[in-house]
């Protein structure tokens, strides 16, 4: 993923797409991406989804970093979950078929933490989304104006280079 595009979306997201729903969705997507090993097609596709939809990107990126930091602990849950799924006799035909398909191995589906992470992410997506939405309400009430009026954002606005690059979006 183009790092410049991510930085651009990050700054834009500080002031745009800040409804509680968008913040909640960003945190949920970030949580899911954070659980994945990043060098897999699954994680890359989720990043594309994050960038392509109108979710709050700064919150999503911050959540990715936060979840990635605690991955060694979360792996203790996702690894056995994924192992149970990958060694399940009922699912064996599906995995074998995927394993024999082109492209599919790039998704890293046969790595225990990928299916484990997807299942854990799916199970926790609703509580994470609602918690994120509540955080969004809190953020909009307490922080949004402070962020908008912060020297950092004002400085960015004043920079002609960034203004040109962001096309006045900040």
């Amino acid at each position: 993923m183009n790092p410049l595009a991510i930085i651009r979306q990050f700054f834009q997201g500080l002031t745009a797409e800040t409804t509680p729903g968008q913040i909640g969705a960003g945190i949920t997507l970030g949580f899911l991406i954070g659980l994945m090993p990043k060098a897999t097609l699954t994680a890359q596709l989720l990043i594309v989804l994050m960038m392509a939809t109108r979710v709050n990107i700064p919150m999503a990126i911050l959540t990715v970093f936060a979840v990635s930091l605690v991955n060694p602990l979360l792996d203790k849950i996702t690894d056995p979950m994924g192992y149970a799924l990958l060694t399940s006799e009922a699912l064996r035909p599906l995995w074998t078929k995927l394993y024999n398909m082109p492209i599919a191995p790039w998704t890293g589906f046969n790595n225990t933490v990928v299916p484990g992470g997807l299942v854990l992410g799916a199970l926790l997506s609703a509580p994470v989304y609602f918690a994120g939405r509540r955080f969004g309400v809190f953020y909009n009430e307490k922080f949004r104006d402070r962020v908008m009026n912060s020297k950092f954002v004002k400085g960015l606005k004043a920079s002609w280079l960034l203004d040109w690059y962001f096309k006045g979006a900040v």
Binding site: N2, A5, Q9, P37, M51, A52, T53, R54, N71, D75, T78, D79, G82, Y83, L86, T87, R92, W95, T96, Y99, N100, P102, I103, P105, W106, N110, N111, T112, V113, V114, G116
Partner: protein, 584 residues
């Protein structure tokens, strides 16, 4: 949808293309150079590296790798390596190359610039160091004083003898091996298993359903047979393991011989033992070549695939990767056939050959990697074949090399501090074979020299009769055979060296002052034997006692397990089953 995001993707794709077009090849080249330098601890150069993505291919030209030991010499160089990858396996994250070509492979070529890397130290080889020290320490200078009964003054300290140290080590390791082996034959485990089956038999006896009872009886009988067979297998394995542990004692005898040579050297007396003389003459040269070969082998093993055959392999950075059966199984990396051409030696001998089945996952490929190389020029003939089989539980290799008609301009044997032979203008024929299975290795090599002139440098021999005997023993010589046998493990190889030059030298020693030296040697041997005797006796007694103990234990357990098993099987015979009564 965020179209402002989606549209710039095209720009990104363009940037990606530009990256691969302009920057990927230099970055890959840099990464490869750094990787090779890390592995070989010397400078590496690549003149050209070109990749193509539409028709996936790689071309490397002008690769040269410096020798970490010789600053201005290359370990190897080649003019071109090229291959094209198959497209379909790439979609499955697999790199499969049907045919590759490696041209102009040469070893030991001179280089214009230094191949040394800063802050890199070559690790010393124990094998080379030991043989060089033995060669340097080979004493000749006091041969004239032998009549002064030098052996009588010399005291042997048991703590310094290698054989005593080894006997102590073997005692410890044997005791550990014994406790491991002994715990493996756990009769209680089998007795408990038989008790459980007895309980199942009692339960099945009371079963009223005839068909179910018959099935239960058959199941129990099958399990009893399996249990007794397992016990027998464990017992046989234990006996074999104990015998193997005792085999290690043979090394004490070898160590004793070395102690003898060391004691003779300390007494500044020449050894008459041809093995010691052969080690002094050809040891440093052979050890250096062996250490070099072991270094290559170590490097190859480092990049050799692991021999884990299980379904689950922990090869991912996070989590574990579970593998499934493949309809068309491709290894992650496979080069089906590599055509190879190159040159050998200063007067280049051109050779060509093929390497087949180069892969990172031999278990998936299911075939060993093989290489065949042949070359000829005038009277010179080169034949090399090797096979690396990593498809099983342990990696097995078998290699054979034959190089005949090799010109030998100059060759020095021995050590300048003791005795040296300079061999010039000869022709050599080298034959070697080497096999490895896991960590174990065994092999032999022979180097036959013909039409050469031998010039001894015996200035260090102060005793005039001995010096002239040594010089005359080499006078009419024009051919020689140097042989070596290698055994032991890859980490700790054991070399046995023999040469007919040693026989000539030994005869010269014996002829000139053999009787006196032999007398001194016998006295020294007596001292070494006396020092070693209590340790050797302790080791032998301990082994005999432990063997008797294990035999008793196994006999007792066998009686219990087999007896109980046979009784249970007797009870389970159809004759003991109550057949249902049918009223007709």
């Amino acid at each position: 949808m965020r179209w402002s995001y989606l549209l710039p993707r095209l720009t990104l794709l363009l940037l990606l293309w530009a990256f691969f077009f302009f920057a990927f090849d230099p970055l890959l080249k840099w990464g490869m150079i750094k990787g090779i330098e890390k592995g070989t601890k010397a400078k590496a150069e690549i003149a050209v590296l070109k990749t193509s993505f539409l028709h996936p291919s790689l071309k490397i030209a002008g690769l040269a790798i410096g020798d970490s030991k010789e600053e201005y010499r290359n370990l190897l160089e080649f003019s071109e390596l090229s291959f094209s990858a198959e497209g379909a396996p790439l979609l499955e994250k697999k790199l499969v190359v049907d045919s590759a070509s490696l041209k102009g492979l040469r070893f030991g070529t001179p280089r214009k610039t230094s191949g040394k890397l800063p802050l890199v130290k070559e690790e010393p080889s124990e094998l080379v160091d030991a043989l060089v020290a033995e060669s340097k320490g080979f004493a000749l200078e006091r041969a004239a004083d032998v009549k002064t009964d030098v052996a009588a003054d010399y005291k042997v300290d048991p703590a310094e003898l290698e054989s005593v140290k080894l006997a102590k080590q073997l005692e410890e390791s044997y005791q550990k091996d014994y406790s491991d082996i002994s715990s493996r034959v756990n009769a209680k485990k089998y007795e408990a298993g038989l008790d459980a089956m007895k309980a199942r038999y009692e339960k099945a006896k009371g079963e009223k359903n005839f068909a179910r009872q018959a099935k239960d009886y058959a199941d129990i009988a099958k399990e009893v047979k399996k249990l007794t067979a397992d016990f027998k297998k464990d017992k046989d394995e234990a006996e074999a393991a104990l015998a193997k542990a005792k085999d290690a004692f043979k090394a004490v005898e070898e160590a004793r011989k070395k102690d003898m040579a060391a004691v003779m050297a300390k007494m500044k007396l020449p050894s008459l033992d041809t093995q010691s003389i052969a080690r002094m003459l050809a040891g440093p040269l052979i050890a250096e070549k062996t250490a070099q070969a072991m270094k290559w082998m170590g490097l190859a093993r480092k990049y050799m695939p692991a021999n884990t055959k299980g379904v689950l392999k922990n090869e991912a950075r996070r989590g574990r990767e579970v593998h499934f059966p493949k309809e068309n199984a491709y290894p992650t990396l496979l080069v089906r056939r590599l055509e190879l051409t190159g040159e050998l030696g200063e007067d280049p001998l051109e050779y060509s050959g093929t390497v087949e089945g180069l892969t990172t996952q031999p278990q998936v490929y299911g075939r060993p990697t093989t290489a065949v190389i042949k070359g000829a020029k005038g009277a010179r003939r080169l034949d090399f074949k090797t096979s690396v089989d990593a498809t099983g539980e342990e990696i097995k290799t078998a290699s054979e090399l034959s190089y005949a008609g090799m010109p030998v301009a100059q060759l020095q044997l021995g050590s300048p501090s003791s005795f040296m032979v300079e061999i010039t203008n000869g022709t050599g024929a080298f034959e070697a074979s080497l096999k490895t299975a896991g960590e174990e290795l065994s092999g032999k090599a022979a180097f036959r020299l013909a039409g050469a002139s031998f010039k001894p440098k015996a200035d260090n021999i102060k005793a005039a009769p001995l010096r002239s005997a040594v010089e005359s023993s080499f006078a009419g010589l024009s051919s020689a055979v140097i042989g070596a046998e290698i055994a032991g493990t890859i980490k700790s190889p054991k070399l046995a060296i023999n040469t007919d030059l040693a026989n000539a030298l030994s005869k010269a020693f014996s002829g000139a002052m053999g009787a006196e030296v032999k007398k001194a040697q016998e006295a020294a041997q007596k001292k070494v034997d006396e020092a070693l005797k209590p340790y050797r006796a302790k080791l032998d007694n301990m082994a005999a006692a432990k063997q008797a103990e294990l035999e008793g234990k196994l006999k007792d357990a066998e009686a219990k397990v087999t007896g109980a098993g046979e009784k249970l099987l007797k009870d389970l015979t159809p004759g003991k089953m109550k057949l249902p009564k049918f009223k007709l």
